[in-house]
Amino acid sequence: MDGEELTEQETALYDRQIRVWGVDAQRRLSKAHILVSGMKGTVVEFCKNIVLAGVGSLTLVDSREVTEEALSANFLIPPDENVYSGKTLAELCCDSLKDFNPMVRVSVEKGDISSFGGDFYGRFDVVVISSCSFATKKLINEKCRKVSKRVAFYTVDCRDSCGEIYVDLQNYTYSKKKLDETDECQLQYPSFEEAVAIPWRALPRKVTKLYLAMRVIERFEEAEGRNPGEISIADLPGVLKLKKELCDAQSFNESHVPDALLERLVSDTSEFPPVCAILGGILGQEVIKAISGKGDPLKNFFFFDAIDGKGIIEDISNPNPGS
């Protein structure tokens, strides 16, 4: 919506959430442009949440066709073959999301996400990618960082009943209201490449095993030229071998990355609907915080495991400022 004030329609529709984050935040949301790639269950949940919240626009990228697996965790696709046949995931999700909030401009961008240039990314305030290879994550993160205005960058992935969110807000300043005074806070986020380059030995001893396991599997898929998620139990010996190599190369004790966890993550790469909802909810929250500039954002990794229901935040960044 153009113009400074919220319309009467917006005020009525968003009443309950304006009471949470205020009119100013709602205005900023209505001017925000979001890019999303990889329409799997978690991302779909995220899209629902921000469309309902009333962002300015949402652009979807995913040229894959519908599969049985997609239907089981994607609430936006009608299970009628007559309807979904011939359309891409992005197109189907786009139609459904428009229904949730006609005031949000939802559209589809065709093409390969890694082929778009910097001016493309410059059109957005927030970029969320999922189901991307290690190389693609690095590439898109770099492109976002090169844009002169700040583009908030997130990745989200779900394997078995675990999930991971990565956040890059570059140099982020925000204000925090404490009783009568307002504090100015500043955070410095490392790029994805910088974060994962930090030697595992340098990480806190209690760092969640999920972080390490995800990195091993990511590297494996990369080395084998696989699409993300294209992995199975038959690959376990190869994965364990790669784990040993990665650990030896950095003098890191390989028992810190449990074999059982790796086995779990390669055996099933499909998503579990309630886990998608939790991750999509948290990611939705984070993006709303980044757009509105209100609230402590997550820095910089979040993990969730349905088996124990725990959510863990890890700050994987170099403690020395300026590097």
């Binding site: 309902l52 939705g284 997550l298």
Partner: protein
Amino acid sequence: MADSTAHVSRSRDLDKLLLRPGHLVGPTFEPGPELRDDLRKFATVLVVGAGGLGCELLKDLALSGFKNLEVIDMDRIEVSNLNRQFLFRLQDVGKPKAEVAAKRVMERVSGVNIVPHFCRIEDKDIEFYNHFNIIALGLDSIEARSYINAVACSFLEYDSDDKPLEETIKPMVDGGTEGFKGHARVIIPGVTPCFECTIWLFPPQVKFPLCTLAETPRTAAHCIEYAHLIKWDEVHSGKAFDPDDPEHMKWVYSEAVKRAELFGIPGVTYSLTQGVVKNIIPAIASTNAIISAACALETLKIVSGCSKTLSNYLTYNGAEGLHTKVTEFVKDMDCLICGPGVLIELDTSVTLQKFMDQLQEHPKLLLSKASVKYREKNLYIQAPPVLEELTRSNLNLPLFDLMGKIRKDIVHVTGTTTNNDKKTSCLRKLRVVFKGIDGATDMDTAGGA
């Protein structure tokens, strides 16, 4: 599309939880395809509320493989719901929430059957709630939660060692949200604390003393409540205030503004007026999504016994960063609701009427307008008039006779009790013991007869 292929890929993720044993499973967990299929075909779950939490719950449960769901909600859809109750569209405004929600989920998830109930939770007979394996709550008030909790706990029976009988346990999963905060809890009656056991968790409800409103207001809310509770009656005596009537609301707002100006108090806005008068709870989609998903996960774990459930109260706060905590609260052994029941000792000559009179005086109950149920039978029922007439003759009969002349058993009573000057409907479990009867005839035998 062969059903077996659909079966395989759709449940692939569930299979991971249900087809293999694990370290965190419950003691009765038996992995295998039968368990997964049972889940699909036989488990029935009731979702109470089709609002912010209810919509998300229905979606999550349907996608998780539950085939038989029912949903109950007495409200109709309003515009302010649409920012988070994603199953509803602008053109649905005015329609019953339960019906639209059920329809939309069934359209998107093949194979699930959802029965909607457009009515108040109190309108259903208690036995209605007994048919479900588990009850998931997406409610927005303490009173409603209290009621369902009492109903679920009313099914609970104890053995002679005061241990809960497993087949009478009716588990509940309860979620609640406000803004960036929320909670999800698991209630296993007889094992974990029930809702009443932990009612002390709630801070006292905000009630402004009348003298503050009338003489010394200090905040914008005081001015609003003055206009709403005092001035309205002075000017419109006899006419009820309707919070949904914009004219009424505007009148209260303008009176509140006048009062605020008089006392130099800032902050009275139309939005605040609505919020105070209607007790509006601020709400956003993402918190509801997170809490409902946590509840759906716990529902799945309880029904299939496939993992350790949340033990037993999760709080979530997304306002300052991200914070979750799980606390293990303990059951209150003397709980009126989930405990073995309030003990009432009676002579065998006491009539049903006299018994009901005693309930009014009993310090732990203070129950008036009682309806009494024993096992499946309504001994006396207050309404509707036709049933009242039918059961009126029982009032003069000894309760001992009406209960089949056994020494002791559980009786359920519904009625009204007064709590903090507010009359609320309630359900209570009573352990009735008759004096002077030979102890050889005990509850277990009577139960099995």
